[in-house]
Structures are given as C-alpha cells and as structure tokens.
C-alpha cells in the first residue's frame, strides 16, 4: 500500500462521495447529480465545496482529467486514478471496521 494515501484519511463526506462517483468519468455537474442519487437526495454538493475538493484531488493525483463533455467543452471530465482507488479501498476498510465495531459494542438500533 502506498503510505502517502494515509495522510488523506479520514475523508470528509463530500470528498469521499466525489471520489466514489468518479469511478466512472463525470464532469462537475454529473458529480453533483451522482452524489445526490447515491445519498438518496440527502447530500447536494455546494459549488464551492465541489470546486475545492476537485482542486485538492487533482493536485494530489487522486483523480485525473480525461476529456471534456461533447456538448459543452467547459465541462471537463474526470476519473479516479489508481492512487485514488487505493485511498477509497483504505477508507472503506477503515469505515467498515468502525461500523462492525459499533454494531458489536452497542448492537443495531433500528
């Protein structure tokens, strides 16, 4: 495992969902819609949050530019990199450990 990714953990909810949604190429607007769908309408990414997160993810090569929307060239398409995927894997393991421990200690409260 690349040790560099540990410095990004824990991810904020917004960054986690942005990274997750870029499993397939998407532009900014596509990310907003995808995250809305994934969270069943609970999380609508605000523009500044999305812009800031994309910048940080790009700078750290966790996502990369792969093209532009065919209808609107101002919309750039991004996709997750191998390093980004490693980070997501790391986060998923960490989060599921937390969830399992939580259920184990205090049970599932429905």
């Amino acid at each position: 495992m690349n040790l560099r990714i540990k410095q990004f953990s824990p991810l904020t909810e917004a960054t986690f969902y942005i990274l997750l949604s870029l499993n397939k190429p998407l532009h900014g607007y596509g990310i907003i819609k995808k995250v809305e769908a994934l969270s069943k309408g609970r999380l609508t990414l605000a523009a500044g949050t999305l812009y800031g997160a994309l910048n940080v993810l790009l700078e750290n090569k966790l996502i990369t530019l792969i093209g532009e929307d065919e209808h609107n060239k101002r919309r750039k398409l991004y996709i997750i990199t191998d390093l980004g995927r490693e980070l997501i894997d790391y986060e998923l393991k960490r989060l599921s450990e937390m969830i399992n421990n939580g259920y184990q200690e205090i049970g599932v409260n429905q």
Binding site: E13, A14, T15, L43, T44, G48, Y51, G52, A53
Partner: protein, 180 residues
Amino acid sequence: MNLAIRKWFWIWQQDQEKKFLEEQAKKAYVLIEVKVFKYIFDKRETKNLIYQMDFRGLGGKISQEEYLQIYEDAGWTSVPSGNGWYYFYQEAKSNVNLSLFNDFESQRKAYIRLIGFLALIGFPLYFYIIYAIPNLQVSGFFTRVKLALIIIVVVIAFIHLISMIKIYHMYKKLKKNIKE
C-alpha cells in the same frame, strides 16, 4: 435602466456587502457588474435573491471557465467583477440553505486560500517598509517623492494588517463553531 452605486466594503465586511446586494434585489435591482468602487444594477422583475462571494485565490488546476461552469451548473448566476472576488446569485428557495459550502472543512480551506493570498501580497509591502525606511536619506531632490511613497505604502500596509487580523478572527470563529 441601470443604476450605479458607489460603495466600498472592506475585505472583512462580506456580510454587510451581501446584505447590501440582497436589499437592492428587494427593490428589483439585480447586480450586473462589479467595479472597484462601484456596483452596477439592472432593474428587473425579481424575487428574493441570495448573493454569495467567493475568493478563488490563485486558481489551482481548474481554469476560470470551468470554475464558473461548475457554479452555474449548481444554480448560480455569475456576475462580472473587477475587484478580485467572484459574485454569484440565485433565487432564494424556502428550506434550502444556499451556501457555497457543504461542510466546515471546505469553508476552512476557503479561508486558508484567502489568508495565503493576503500573506503573499503582504510580503513585498512589509519588505519595502523594513528595507526602505532605515535607508531613507533625508537630503536630496527626491526626498519628498520618496517620503510620499513611503507614507502610501505604510497606509496600505496598515490596512493590510487590519485585514489579516480581521480575517484571522473570522477564521478562528469558524474553527470554534466546528468544535462546538
């Protein structure tokens, strides 16, 4: 018909500036351009507008075009501005918090961008004061010009210092809110 209002807000008066713009919108004046000391409005059919200002800093890897596209896609209309800030508005919606940020973390980073930029432009100002004032020769033809220049730089540096302190306090307040 256009309306131009001359007005100046300091960097730490973002809330007042927002309020000023939103009050104009209630009188059906929508912001169409921002100049350094001037706001230009257009009379339009309008309801309640929410304004937000954003400081993009030095930009990072995303171009200005794409930056504006992301904000427009999120429902914001951008207003051309010549004072370094980006101005956006959209119609107020009930039960929707129209902020530019979802979480404290991204808000915190926006403050850091602003503080970083202020520090960067402050460096030559303070450097000039530290270097030029002790080396000032009181005699000579250009003394008055030099003196005037130094006074201007000192005034700008003073305003800069106040800005830094005020912005830093706003940043501290935000961090305090996170902890609570």
